[in-house]
């Protein structure tokens, strides 16, 4: 019998460690499991639609792409991480510079992440556009095709801001403190000019139910407990405390951005 096959994008070597760990954990619980790694989300979405994989660990943009390409087929987000819910992006400028409000950004150079990054490019640029503010976006394409999963694009945008090459930069909310802690920007150097609305990030996507094992897969992941020392390293690597049932209410901002920039 065919195992439950998951598709995931290899944005970092640790992705192998993560899914090897999940494979071992799931198989000891009786779920035949395997995974296929893709170098980019477009290939993963295509493979998912063709049935090569039963579920796809999708970026928010890959989710939107899947929904749109699936047409009349039933597409569901069955799981997501607690850390995928209610994210925001922020637009930061230099605290010692002239940019104090969104209005000040009009016509200015704004550093963004990879061209396909929802959090560092699409959603914040859409936020500006929705307020009628047009800017000159300067992309930092680290690992294009990986939808901004790699933090390098955002880091490069902040570096460009520090060097004065752009007047503002767009980053995920959680990276604001991170970039100060790691020294990319000195504390006090950044001023938050704007914050987008809340949105959701990755989800585990299935099409037409995802096959015979999908519900068992979902049950097992929902039962993972951070207190369990066997599970904890996997959750630490994947960056979550608990799996939650998937929801699709958090993708409106991205849908709007895709419509605007497509």
């Amino acid at each position: 019998m065919r195992p439950f096959i998951l598709g995931a994008v290899a944005y970092d070597p640790k992705v192998v460690t993560i899914w090897e760990g999940f494979r071992a954990w799931l198989e000891t619980r009786g779920l035949p499991f395997d995974y296929v790694l893709f170098s980019n989300y477009e290939a993963q979405v295509d493979a998912h639609l063709r049935g090569v994989v039963d579920a796809a660990w999708n970026s928010p943009l890959a989710w939107v792409q899947t929904v749109r390409a699936a047409r009349d087929r039933r597409v569901e987000a069955i799981l997501m991480r607690d850390t995928d819910q209610d994210l925001t992006s922020v637009i930061v400028a230099r605290a010692d510079g002239p940019i104090r409000s969104i209005e000040d950004l009009r016509g200015k150079r704004v550093g963004v992440g990879a061209g396909d990054s929802p959090q560092a490019t699409l959603i914040p640029l859409d936020h500006l556009a929705s307020l009628g503010v047009t800017v000159e976006a300067k992309r930092h394409d680290v690992l294009l095709g990986k939808h901004g999963d790699h933090v390098g694009g955002e880091r490069d945008a902040i570096r460009a801001l520090v060097r004065g090459e752009v007047e503002a930069a767009c980053i995920l909310d959680g990276n604001h403190a991170l970039f100060q802690r790691e020294g990319t920007a000195a504390p006090g150097l950044l001023r938050i000019v704007a914050q987008t609305g809340a949105y959701d990030h990755c989800n585990m996507t299935v099409i037409d139910g995802g096959g015979a094992h999908a519900s068992r897969f979902r049950e097992l992941l929902l039962a993972m407990r951070y207190d369990d020392p066997e599970v904890r390293p996997l959750l630490d690597l994947e960056g979550l405390r608990e799996w939650r049932p998937g929801r699709t209410s958090g993708y409106a901002l991205l849908e709007r951005a895709v419509d605007r920039f497509a």
């Binding site: 850390t83 995920l172 909310d173 959680g174 604001h176 938050i192 407990r225 904890r232 960056g239 608990e242």
Partner: protein, 385 residues
């Protein structure tokens, strides 16, 4: 509910330490602060750690948030790796490299440290002997009078070179054997691990100073006999910690102590006398630990069998390198004159009797009867170590 006032401290500057500290002591905390980014950084920080934001408000440039601590924690099933000042009977592999007494997170590797039983590795004297060992370390560069005059005859120098060649070989075995067990001792038994490490460092220094003494005047070393290396090989291959310690440290180094004293007493120059004296000082400590350790755990029948087994293995070998025996005679004689040789020969015969006495005394300290001690001492390798 405790209240945490961050004032102007931001999350890029360590504010999370105060929040985490508050949450460690209370399941719900209120956080206040004036950092303009607080309303963004605090929820993001909480999200990544599973804490819930129950309320968040910014008014008059002051952000106030109520946080409910995550129900889960990395430390829920953590356990103490024993206590700082007491060892357990058996150290679990999962404690691994953690400091004794540390709070150890569950999960993680379980490295193999085969010597994990108190009954096999521990001796209460280890801490005291370790302190003594570190206090007694000496610097080969300054502790030895390397420039002291060497005005003895060339043949005596040749004898010293031969003896040093023999010592280097034996001290190398004395380095390798504890080094092999060092990596097997569970780090929970920290003092034993430290003591073995110093022992290894001691032997490294001995190898250095004996080599340096041998080459003060000569560009080539003496001979290394097959039988000597066969004798040492049985030590290196001994898989049992207690037996290896017994054969190497009690019987081997126990025999070496009179040998080093002999070299010290008959040395024609200060450098030779000093390297022998300082090495003997270290070896005495190694013997003391082995005796203390074995006094607790020695299975005398097992030790007896080990001596007999080694004797059988080495029975067909040639014993002590004749060049070494002759060099010791010449060292004690001081010249090739027949009366001097007669004196030197008698001194070496007396040395072997001293070694036998030392071994028997050690064996009796381990609880062997004097008759047994005599028999076992006589079965000891003729190579001295």
């Amino acid at each position: 509910m405790s209240v945490i006032d961050l004032d102007v401290l931001g999350f890029g500057e360590g504010a999370h330490l105060l929040v985490a500290r508050g949450l460690a002591g209370s399941p719900r905390v209120e956080v206040r602060g004036r950092d303009p980014a607080l309303a963004i950084d605090l929820p993001a920080w909480c999200r990544a750690r599973g804490h819930a934001i129950a309320a968040l408000d910014t008014h008059d440039a002051i952000t106030t948030a109520t946080i409910d601590r995550a129900a889960t924690s990395r430390w829920i099933s953590a356990e103490r790796a024993g206590s700082i000042d007491a060892v357990v009977d058996r150290a679990p592999a999962t404690w691994g490299l953690a400091a004794r007494g540390a709070l150890v997170e569950a999960g993680g590797p379980a490295p193999s440290f085969p010597l994990a039983d108190r009954s096999i590795v521990w001796a209460d004297e280890a801490a005291r002997l370790y302190a003594q060992a570190t206090a007694a370390q000496w610097d080969p560069a300054t502790a030895i009078p390397w420039r002291a005059p060497l005005d003895h005859p060339p043949e005596i120098e040749d004898a010293i070179v031969q003896i040093m060649t023999f010592l280097v070989e034996n001290e190398t075995a004395a380095l390798v054997v504890p080094a092999r067990f060092l990596a097997q001792v569970h780090p929970h038994f920290r003092e034993v691990m430290q003591l073995l490490a110093v022992q290894v460092a001691d032997e490294a220094r001995h190898v250095e100073v004996f080599t340096r003494r041998a080459t003060l005047r000569r560009a080539t070393l003496g001979t290394s006999a097959a039988a000597g290396r066969a004798s040492l090989d049985t030590l290196v291959r001994e898989p049992d910690f207690a037996i290896a310690s017994f054969l190497l440290n009690v019987l081997g180094e126990g025999s070496f102590l009179p040998l080093l004293h002999f070299i010290r007493d008959h040395a024609p120059d200060d450098a030779t006398a000093t390297v022998a004296r300082l090495a003997a000082q270290d070896e005495a400590r190694h013997v003391a630990f082995a005796l203390a350790h074995l006094a607790h755990h020695a299975d005398r029948e097992q030790l007896r069998a080990a001596v007999e087994r080694r004797h059988a293995v080495l029975a067909s070998t040639a014993g002590l390198n004749e060049d070494v025996f002759d060099a010791l005679v010449l060292l004690a004689a001081g010249s090739w004159e027949p009366p001097a040789i007669k004196r030197g020969h008698a001194a070496v015969v007396a040395l072997t009797a001293d070694m036998d006495r030392a071994r028997r005394a050690h064996l009796e300290r381990l609880g062997f009867s004097s008759a047994d001690a005599e028999t076992l001492s006589s079965l000891h390798t003729r190579n001295f170590m």
